[in-house]
Structure formats: structure tokens, C-alpha cells
Symmetry: C2
Subunit: 425 residues, 2 copies
């Protein structure tokens, strides 16, 4: 493959023409594919259908699980998540079906009531959150919704740039939080290093109500059994650093069983837990304890859970490999892009030439392949380089995915060739 | 029975002595009973256990019900609640397991973002809610939590005193809402008259973001098949009055199937729905659609639902009748109390002599029977007459309930006799 940047005007002109013909041909096929969201496909969902058999009318169910109450979750569910996150059950609150909703509620609680006696954010002039980028669009949507100023922080191979994080957190009292996906980060697949976790735990926040929003969404979502990342335990690290109250850790079974019908949980210090329960007892009488029981009885223990995740990996891995194989084959050596080779999570992260991401996403869309909007992985949807694209291989079938990835690489080439040609004018 | 107020000092002194002996005897039995909360008992919960069989691994479940999405609820669930509330499915949002949580979220949303473009309440100096009294303590807890000033409004036999309601709502821009339980009201059992509903629908609020919080918790919770209340349709009434946007109507299956594992819903105008969904789409990706499907498939339609409620009434009715029979037998003619004879809902409402409620609740507690705290049915827990007590007959067994009611009447007599005697000094 010849690097585009080494091509002369004529070569590039011919290339653009040739790619345009291929693109028009693709377009004529009328594809309708979606690589936008990290949704499981039906095969993957099917792996959990047996869970619907473990509770029926003959099941022994504690009376109080059928009734109101048990605000912080059933004992079994707490024990289960305690094992999954390697924390004490006393650190846990088990919620309903959505960890996103827990995060929203935490932000909302900070805004309306404040954490552990701190001034509610709505009474302060300016609230800021740090946002490692590229990151998760739904995180950014929550902070934007509450009018919180978002400050992008570069996400490097070991995690967020901790010099920048420390500079802000330890000096600016208006910085109240940071969004983190510490393992198989959405979208880059990055896992924070032990050193990064240690530096997080050792922060000396200017704001006493600063919190790390540790969205450990992909903590057990490995693609390989022999090559795995494992982020260090933030709850323990913060305890050891004498900073037990600075972190909220979130997780769920949304991408383990059924998105929408899973169980979500939060781990945090006992002080935070107590503070949160005072608010929660006004908000609800309790979450769905039958569904909590259904999950625990289905998996039995952490071994059952991890076996289940291996089966899911068997569905997901070929999809990731297919996409990456096509990217490697079609784009290597062209000097127009780079992309991730993640070991887990739900995304392949793609960096196009500067100024090309929007055009690539649009070109895909016009040919029937929906990608996450360019810029979505940045606060306010603004990718300053217009370079990053998030690819979600989980939802299409393998055949569809190959078609979509093929079209994607074609669009990358076409847009990049045009751009390079323009730059010669 | 001789009225206490007609007794002389000697008669009352003897009466107090006699009642004290009976009370001490009760106390020695070491009862441990609870008539505090409107919780179903295990027999009643058992009536819904078959619901756990309707969805299993072999069930036909639409693929997208197993996945993320469908923010406002499944089509079947919307159709089901539309029939239950006699509204269009376009008026409905189907949520998770808790209508209390929906109400909390609505208040929180008013506070943080405001309704349909109105100023968020957190930016205003003073926010007020009208609270028909006696009312539901968890409603009052939400408004108190958000620092909203609560104004008690007398609840009469036809509903809240509408002269007072109109006076406040139509003239005071800081009045942003009113809490209503319009059918079999908690705790009085009152059902609002058609005229009351009409006056609600015809309010001309000074605040454009005033909303009626219409908690129709007991809309299908009749105790009798031949004697039933039916509150008029507030959604239609507001539409007809040209006021479609002034109401949020809440309901759930918490007291139909399993509290904690039910399905909750809100009906409101299309404008409100659109406004709410803009907020919800930031908060969550969707609620538990499998549980929505489970409920609809279990009941099939409104007839199935109403048959189920008749079975529940067969469990609840004897309990209500037992309590009321004991109240009638033990307290009639003494001129020391009055109590409700509800046709539905979950409570018997009891009015003691002024200044006696706290003492009665304490005397019961000391003898092992927990009642809802005196004052709980008033904003800030302050019953100005210290007179009202809420009795919840649903949770104890029939035998326990009879014991508890017997003790309760004894405590009422003892406290009232002492009080009457004191008044002679």
C-alpha cells in the first residue's frame, strides 16, 4: 500500500475517481446497517434466556423480597456484586436496571442537595467536570444537561493525563467530578494503569465534594481468556490513601444479561452510602428484588458469571476481529488513520486524518451505514481535530458487519484522498 | 355505652383504673404487630405468584424488548395502562417499578430544569405546594426534601376544599403543585366528587408551571364489587377545560402484583410527555421491558386485571371489616373518636379527641403494636389537633389484626378517659 501523503496530484486524482466508483457501487446496494451503539445482538442476548427460567411460581422466594422495602438491595445481590467488584457488601447499594440512571441521580443529587453536607451545586456559580477524551457521550450528556462546564482531559495509554487531572482537581474548587471508564474504556479500550489508579486515589481535591465517577461498565467484559486487562481496585486504593469518600463506582449486568432488564449497582464508602440512602429513602421504597434474586440464582457465583462472559466473548470476538482485520488490510500503510486493537469492551476506536471524521460518518450514512456521530465522544460533541470515530461492532451480524466495515474503510479512503488532494492545491 | 363527656370525676377515675388494668394485661402478652404501612400480606402476594410463570426461556419475546431502548415503554404496556386509566396510549409513559420514584423525579425535574421552559424552581426564592390533609406522608417527604413550603388544605368528603385550592392556585405564582390521591385517598378513603374534578380541571393557575400531582394509586383497589367509588377522568377533564397540561397522573401495579417488582406509569398531555422524554433520554436508556411484558401477558386485559383485584379484595375485605367492627363495637357512643368506613384503598382513617393521637400511638407502641406515627399524615409531621391516626389493616394476619385493633381501642379509651378526667381539674 502506498501512503497517501507521498502521492502526487495525478495519483490522488485517479485514486479519488476510482474510489468514487467503488463508493457509488456500494451506495446502489441500499445497505441498512448500524454500528452506532454498543448494543448486544440477538445471539448474545439469547445466551441469557435461560435466566428467565430460574424464578417461577414454585420458587422459594423470601416473603420480604415480594413486598416493599430492602432499600439498598437484597443480601445475595450485595454479596454477588461484592465478589464481582472485590469490595465489601457494606460498600454496595443495589439499584434497578440502569447504571446510567444511578449516575444521573448522583449528579442530580449533587445539584439539588450536595454530598455529605456540601453546598448544593445549584447554589454555586460554576461547576466543572473533567472529561477524559475521547469518552462516553452519555456521560457528557448528563453533565451538559445540568449546565456543568466540561473540561476535556487527554486520555493516554495509561489513562487520563494525571498531571492535568491533579492540576485541576487539587487547585480548582469548582471541579466537582471526573468521568472515568477505567477498564476497556468507551471508546478507546484503554485500561488505566496501577499508577494512574494510585494517583486518582491520592488526589487532594480543593473541593471537599469532589467525586470520581468510576463507571466500571466493562470490568468483566474481556474478549480473550488469555489476554486480559484488569484495572486496580479503586475502592481499596482510595481507602488505603485515606480518601475513602472520593469515589462512586458504577456497574451493571446490562451487557451481561439483558440491557433494560439487568441489575445495576454502586460501590462507595460507608459515609457516602449513608448519605445516599437518606436521599433514596425519599425517592423510592426499593428496587426490583425479584430481578436481583433472578440474577444471583442464575449465575450462582463469580465462576458462573465468568463462564457466561466467556460465551458472550465467543459471540463478540469474531466481530471485533473481523472489523479489525478489514481495517488492518484496507488501511495499513496509507498513513491516513490509526485504530485500536482492544482486549475487551464494546468499541473499536478510530482516528482519521484531521478534519475527516464528519465527512467519513456522513459518507457512510449516505450509503446506509449508521455510525456514532462524529464528535460524540467529546464534550458538547466537539472533537477539536474532527478526527475520532467510534465503531460499535456488537449489534450487526457478522456478515453485515463485514459489509459495513468494508464500506467504512472505503469511505475513509475516499474522504482522506480528497482531503490530501485538496491540501495540494 | 356511656359518653365520656357526660361522666363525672369519680366515674372517670374508676374507668381509668379499670382500663389501666386491661392495658397492663395486654402489655404483658408481649405482642409484636405492625399496622403502620399499607403493605400487602403474604396471602395477597401469593395471588400474583403465577405471574412468574408467564415469561420463560421458551417465550416469544420481541428482540428489541431484550435489548436497550423503547424509552417510553412497550406498546402492549401502554395499551394496558391506557385501558386501566381510560386515556390514550399517547398520553402514557411506562416506567420502572415505582410510581413514588416517578413523582420524585418530576419534582426533581421541576427543581433542576423546570417544566416546558419555565424557570427551574431552584432559581426561585419560594416554591409552595398545596397538601390536602390528612394525606400521604411520602408525598410530603418529597416536597419537604426539596425545601418546598407545604400548605395544608382541608380534605372534605368531596375532596380538597376547592375554594381554598382556587384561592391559592389562581392567585399565587409560587404555588407550583398540589398532591392528590383522588380515589380512596390515603388515608381517609375519600373519593373526589365529579364537581371537585371539574374545578381542578378548570383552575386558572397564576403559575404557568403549576401541576396537579394526581396519584391515582388506588384507582382499581375496591373492597366491594357492589359498592364502589370511581373518580372522574382528570386527563379528559383537563383536556375539555382547555387545560391539558396542568396534570400528571400516576399509577402502578405495586399493590396489584408485587410491590418492588411492579410496573409504574404516568399519564399526561402530549406536551408534558415530550418535555419529560427530553429529560428522560439523558437519565436512562429505558426501563424493564420484560417485566412490562410479564405484567401484560399475565393479566391479558382489563377484565383479567379486575378479576385479579377481586381476589385481592377477598383477602383485604375481611381485615377492613374486622378492624371497623371492633372500632364500631368498642368505641361507638363514647364521643371520643370517629373513623372511616372506606370502600377501597389501604387505610382506615381515625380521628381521636384533640390532643390524644400521639399518646394513643405511644401507648400502642409500648404494648407492641406499631402504628403510623401520629402527625405523619400532615406536612412536617405536624397535626395541629394531634388527633389523626392512620390504621393500615393489610399486613397483619386476621387474628393478629383483631388483637391489634382490640389493643388500639383500649388505648384510645384509656388515653381519652385520662384526657377527659384532666379536663375536669
Amino acid at each position: 500500500m502506498k501512503s497517501y501523503v507521498t502521492m502526487n496530484k495525478e495519483e490522488l486524482t485517479n485514486l479519488v475517481q476510482e474510489l468514487q466508483i467503488q463508493y457509488d457501487h456500494f451506495k446502489s446496494q441500499g445497505l441498512q446497517l448500524n454500528m452506532a451503539r454498543g448494543k448486544p445482538d440477538f445471539d448474545q442476548l439469547g445466551l441469557s434466556k435461560d435466566m428467565l427460567d430460574v424464578i417461577d411460581s414454585q420458587s422459594e422466594i423470601p416473603n420480604d423480597y415480594l413486598n416493599y422495602g430492602i432499600l439498598d438491595g437484597t443480601l445475595e445481590a450485595k454479596e454477588f456484586f461484592a465478589e464481582m467488584l472485590d469490595v465489601s457488601k457494606d460498600n454496595l447499594i443495589i439499584y434497578g436496571n440502569s447504571s446510567l440512571n444511578i449516575m444521573f441521580d448522583q449528579i442530580s443529587r449533587g445539584y439539588t442537595h450536595g454530598y455529605m453536607g456540601a453546598t448544593p451545586w445549584c447554589q454555586l456559580d460554576k461547576i466543572k467536570f473533567l472529561c477524559p477524551v475521547p469518552g462516553y457521550d452519555r456521560h457528557f450528556a448528563i453533565t451538559e444537561h445540568f449546565g456543568i462546564e466540561m473540561i476535556p482531559v487527554p486520555l493516554n495509554d495509561n489513562g487520563p493525563d494525571m498531571d492535568v487531572v491533579e492540576q485541576y482537581v487539587n487547585n480548582d474548587e469548582s471541579v466537582k467530578g471526573i468521568w472515568c471508564v477505567p477498564q476497556y474504556s468507551n471508546p478507546t479500550g484503554t485500561t488505566y494503569s496501577d499508577e494512574t489508579v494510585k494517583r486518582f486515589a491520592s488526589l487532594k481535591p480543593a473541593a471537599k465534594d469532589f467525586r470520581i465517577f468510576w463507571d466500571n461498565a466493562y470490568c468483566i467484559h474481556h474478549l480473550y481468556s488469555d489476554k486480559q486487562d484488569h484495572v486496580a481496585n479503586i475502592i481499596k486504593a482510595c481507602e488505603e490513601a485515606g480518601n475513602p469518600d472520593i469515589v462512586f463506582e458504577f456497574c451493571s449486568t446490562s451487557k451481561v444479561t439483558f440491557p433494560g432488564s439487568g441489575v445495576a449497582a454502586m460501590a462507595t464508602s460507608k459515609n457516602n452510602k449513608q448519605d445516599i440512602l437518606k436521599h433514596m429513602t425519599i425517592q423510592t421504597i426499593g428496587h426490583d428484588k425479584i430481578n436481583q434474586l433472578r440474577h444471583v440464582r442464575y449465575f450462582k457465583n463469580i465462576d458462573g458469571l465468568m463462564k457466561h462472559m466467556e460465551k458472550q466473548a465467543d459471540v463478540l470476538r469474531p466481530k471485533f476481529e473481523a472489523v479489525i482485520e478489514i481495517l488492518d488490510k484496507e488501511l495499513s500503510g496509507l498513513d491516513i488513520a490509526s485504530w485500536s486493537h482492544p482486549l475487551g469492551g464494546y468499541f473499536v476506536s478510530f482516528d482519521a486524518m484531521e478534519g475527516c471524521a464528519k465527512d467519513i460518518v456522513n459518507a457512510c450514512k449516505e450509503a446506509g451505514v449508521i455510525l456514532t456521530g462524529a464528535g460524540a465522544t467529546y464534550p458538547y460533541g466537539k472533537d477539536p481535530k474532527d478526527s475520532h470515530i467510534r465503531i460499535a461492532p456488537s449489534y450487526p451480524t457478522l456478515d453485515e458487519l463485514k459489509q459495513a466495515a468494508q464500506l467504512f474503510t472505503l469511505c475513509v479512503k475516499l474522504v482522506s484522498a480528497k482531503k490530501t488532494l485538496e491540501s495540494l492545491h
